[in-house]
Symmetry: C2
Subunit: 296 residues, 2 copies
């Protein structure tokens, strides 16, 4: 059975991490750059974790909330230095509206676009446990499903049956600007081979000038779109126009390949498009011609 790999947008979402030891440490660098509102609950804090809190290590506050938290800050939002309590499942609410409002929607009496303020609702978006006690872990998992619904996402470290998802192995290429994030997962079957493949991808593609490539592809796309729409023959429908344009760009960028997009001469390439669009041709130059004549 395969997994469904998804890229979650978590800015401002509440996430609960129970535990603050070595395993929890591996979760934090994946979570904080998403801008999520992370709460950590644990009686003992790994010494290397303090850099992720905007509170000094020698501060002995038991319950700490970062009043100046923002998604860009890359810091933990809340720290509770104590054991987990059942009521932590609803620490920020249960994410549900009034059951009367829900019923009105189901009856067709309430339009949730117009007459319900979703910004009031909150609750955990995801719950992760990284503690060495399997019974407490399972209680958190089962309790969360009981109170928040079967669909709340949970991950109990080291207990695959209690993991709605796995983290996989990650590489980020083109750091800064507009990176490409890559996840590799063997669904637990071969973590070592997955790590080797991850290293190889990082080695081969880690130095690609992704920012420049993305910028050039963006320019090409915008100019090709403008030209094609301004000069669209009356015989061509809108879907046909879009189809032609997409196919042309795909053929062209496939020739430049992942290693040469950043060197593209956008002006010359746009001129080529103009000529070919006049005949609605898709007979592109071969790769060598692209490399010889359409790079800077």
């Amino acid at each position: 059975m395969l997994s469904l790999q998804l890229a979650h947008q978590l800015s401002g979402r509440h996430i609960l991490l129970v535990g603050a030891g070595e395993v929890a440490m591996t979760r934090i660098p994946k979570l904080l750059p998403t801008g999520c509102k992370l709460t950590v609950i644990a009686p003992e804090i790994h010494k290397d974790m303090w850099k992720h809190f905007d509170v000094p290590e020698d501060d002995d506050t038991v319950e700490y909330t970062d009043k100046h938290w923002s998604p860009e800050k890359n810091k933990v939002f809340q720290l509770f230095r104590r054991e987990f309590r059942n009521t932590d499942i609803v620490l920020h609410g249960n994410g549900l509206a009034d059951s009367a409002d829900a019923q009105s929607f189901l009856n067709g009496e309430l339009d949730p676009i117009e007459s319900y303020d979703h910004s009031k609702a909150s609750g955990w978006h995801m719950i992760l446990t990284c503690i060495p006690d399997p019974v407490i872990s399972e209680r958190i998992y089962r309790g969360a499903k009981l109170v928040l619904g079967q669909h709340v996402l949970c991950n109990v470290a080291d207990n695959p049956p209690l993991c709605d998802f796995y983290f996989g192995s990650n590489v980020t290429l083109g750091k800064g600007g507009k990176p490409i994030q890559i996840m590799l997962s063997s669904n637990g079957n071969s973590p070592r081979f997955t790590a080797l493949l991850k290293n190889e991808i990082e080695r081969q593609f880690g130095d690609l000038p992704i920012g420049e490539s993305v910028a050039k592809l963006g320019q090409l796309r915008a100019r090709v779109r403008k030209i094609s729409e301004e000069n669209c023959p009356a015989t061509l429908s809108k879907p046909e126009l879009i189809k032609y344009r997409m196919e042309w760009i795909r053929n062209c960028t496939d020739s430049f390949g992942v290693s040469h997009c950043h060197e593209m001469n956008v002006d010359k390439t746009v001129t080529l498009f103009e000529e070919m669009f006049a005949d609605l041709s898709l007979e592109q130059p071969d790769n060598e011609t692209y490399m010889r004549e359409y790079l800077e």
Copy 2:
């Protein structure tokens, strides 16, 4: 802001797909191999989608459920040939327990491991819409959050603010057996460059004998574990033993690299481990030696 990439385990989970046109078609090959219990609701069905239903195309049943569905079958579980209705949000329940049970758990009176039958609870695990009507799409999104809680995962095609996650671009290497799944995402910034990179990864690594590599790495790991535990010196703690073993295997497999693990001579490599473990040495042979002496 980065995304959190996760590999979801969906076997037997209810997933709702509203719409059955070209965009919906692109979702189905990602969903069915996970073994999820997929329900499709749409008045019109794309002609190429019929192969995913275990019902003949000329069947004019409005509501169809596959009585013989199983996760391995790779087919849609349910088809409703009609417009979406608000009550479809709770078609399989809301995933929640009795609110009295939930309250008892929060009070510490109910142990959800011992005294609550989670198998009774159901509901959508995820809701995807792929319909051209943005108002109905938003109503589904807002209604789902209202009734099922803010944490229910929704994706409204072509409407990024109403997407809790993106699908990204996927490659599966080593199909059959134990594959490695890869997702690439630029978080919407550069789909064309992401596609180029995906093609390049597929071109370069698509023919790797991953099954063989995984099998050999599995053998190596099992034998190294056995030898190290049977011959563990009294001075070495369990965590120290695990650390040594992991570091030794990492160094060794890094030398074989992604391209040569399948050719590893496991017997000779295990003998090397035995010799090095006697001295707790981590001074591994260099890559060339590994390539010359430890391949089959």
